[in-house]
């Protein structure tokens, strides 16, 4: 793991001729793309364009039918999938909490997590330490999504994938989560954020990858891509 971080110039993820799904019903179709090694990259596109599929390739929750996915220059197929997933964490569209308290949830990711460490993780996710003892099933949508973010951070990831994480949240909770993602980027943890909202893309993106029908429509810095729109 340590050697990959020593090459900051390598793209965060490279996709080479990547296809997913059976021939005739491709979710991604011969896609070539690179995600830059820093900042917040937004993957956007209409529903069914392959955004979530692309994200799931990054931590091997899915594998390509054809082509190669590289993380910092290394083929993800050659990595231990469990180690890769702890390094490349993911926050899902709908917050999924496990039975038990918030602290129990954090311990799913880090069995050694004590209250002090738990409080630190919650603080990074914008929640007070008092939430540690709360039943995770009784949290509001926004609170649950932040608890899920804290849980993802418990594996000390080097990259955070966020799959439309605000789609089930109200505007206030969405703004909090966007602020937290920006904070992570400022702390040198690159974030890849999937959205179908152009407004959100304009607020968040340092880099943009636009998809359409399983292929790259446009990609580049936010200024380049959004300036054209």
């Amino acid at each position: 793991m340590g050697d990959t971080a020593a090459v900051p110039a390598a793209p965060l993820f490279s996709f080479r001729s990547v296809s997913v799904g059976p021939s005739g019903a491709r979710r991604l179709d011969g896609l070539d793309a690179q995600l830059p090694g820093d900042g917040l990259t937004v993957i956007a596109g209409p529903s069914g364009s392959g955004k979530s599929t692309l994200l799931r390739l990054c931590n091997r929750l899915e594998v390509p039918s054809e082509g190669t996915v590289l993380h910092r220059g290394t083929d993800v197929a050659e990595r231990d999938p469990l180690e890769l997933r702890r390094e490349v964490a993911m926050v899902f569209q709908r917050p999924v909490t496990f039975a038990g308290t918030v602290l129990d949830n954090l311990r799913e990711a880090d069995p050694d997590c004590d209250e002090r460490r738990g409080a630190e993780l919650l603080e990074r996710a914008g929640l007070a330490a008092s939430f540690l003892r709360r039943d995770a099933g009784e949290l509001s949508g926004g609170e649950a999504q932040r608890a899920c973010l804290a849980r993802s951070l418990a594996t000390n990831p080097r990259v955070l994938l966020m799959d439309e994480p605000t789609s089930s949240l109200d505007a206030k909770a969405s703004a909090v989560l966007e602020g937290l993602a920006r904070q992570l980027v400022d702390d040198a943890t690159p974030v890849v954020w999937v959205t179908h909202s152009e407004e959100q893309m304009r607020r968040l993106a340092d880099h943009v990858l636009l998809l359409a029908d399983g292929r790259v429509d446009r990609s580049g810095s936010a200024a380049e891509v959004l300036g054209e729109r």
Binding site: T53, P81, M90, F98, E108
Partner: protein, 262 residues
């Protein structure tokens, strides 16, 4: 009462079938055809089995025929489990191992501890009861594993995404499925004699055997069945869940999955 049922007596027992048909017609349940088919099919199958058993239990018949019958029961039970949960790759072989293990364990206890003698008249009926009951629980386990992993895909993948192995990601589901599949047999065993008068005991008493002897036979069988149900269910559930994850800890595509692929 003697254990003999005359053809007339058998015909008389059809009165209740006629009642079922009348209820189905009256309530427009449209079950008449199914009732008739099940009664006729059951009659034909059991008469064939009875005739075959008559040959099998004859002390002059080589025991190998009984063992072949047992093998047939194991294979048929595996095929039935496979048919009920087709989404699980290789479930036939898992079912085969599960039912064979149940037969081996059951026979080892039965004959190893001399509960019954190794004869044609014991081999086939014990295998039938043991595997018949175990198969039902195996089917429940296989069906529910597929349903639960499909419905709770988000929770499973949330655990996988934390770097947890498939064993840990599926553990809460496997526990819950095993409880659901095993609890009917456990409840049956608890209710023995109070609610539930099991078939072997009832049959022996009807055939004129002393009730205490009948109870002892039934208890031995019930304990064997409970052990068999646990064996088949655990092997089927664990085998099925293993086949629904890839070697690189991904959950395979399942029917009725609601995952967003946007």
């Amino acid at each position: 009462m003697s254990g003999d049922v005359s053809p007339l007596g058998l015909a008389a027992s059809l009165v209740l079938v006629a009642v079922s048909l009348a209820i189905s017609l009256r309530l427009k349940l449209r079950l008449e055809r199914d009732v008739v088919v099940s009664v006729v099919r059951g009659l034909v199958q059991l008469l064939i089995v009875g005739a075959a058993l008559k040959i099998i239990i004859d002390p002059k018949t080589p025991l190998v025929w009984s063992w072949l019958w047992v093998a047939g029961i194991v294979v048929f039970a595996a095929a039935t489990i496979k048919r009920r949960a087709p989404a699980v790759p290789g479930l036939f072989w898992i079912g085969l191992v599960a039912n064979a293990a149940t037969a081996v364990v059951g026979f080892a206890v039965t004959f190893g501890l001399s509960i019954f003698p190794v004869e044609g008249r014991t081999l086939v009926p014990i295998a039938g009861m043991l595997i018949g009951n175990s198969m039902k629980s195996g089917i429940v386990a296989a069906e529910r594993i597929v349903e639960a992993l499909s419905e709770q895909r988000a929770e499973v993948e949330a655990r996988l995404a934390l770097g947890r192995p498939w064993t840990a990601a599926s553990r809460p589901i496997v526990r819950s499925v095993l409880r659901a599949a095993l609890s009917p047999q456990i409840e049956n065993t608890k209710a023995l004699g109070i609610v539930f008068l099991p078939g072997a005991m009832t049959g022996l008493i009807l055939a004129g055997v002393d009730p205490i002897d009948a109870v002892l036979v039934q208890l031995a069988l019930m304990y064997l069945i409970l052990g068999g149900v646990v064996t088949t269910t655990v092997i089927t559930a664990l085998g099925a869940v293993r086949r629904l994850f890839t070697d690189d800890h991904r959950l395979v595509a399942l029917p009725r999955s609601t995952r967003d692929t946007g």
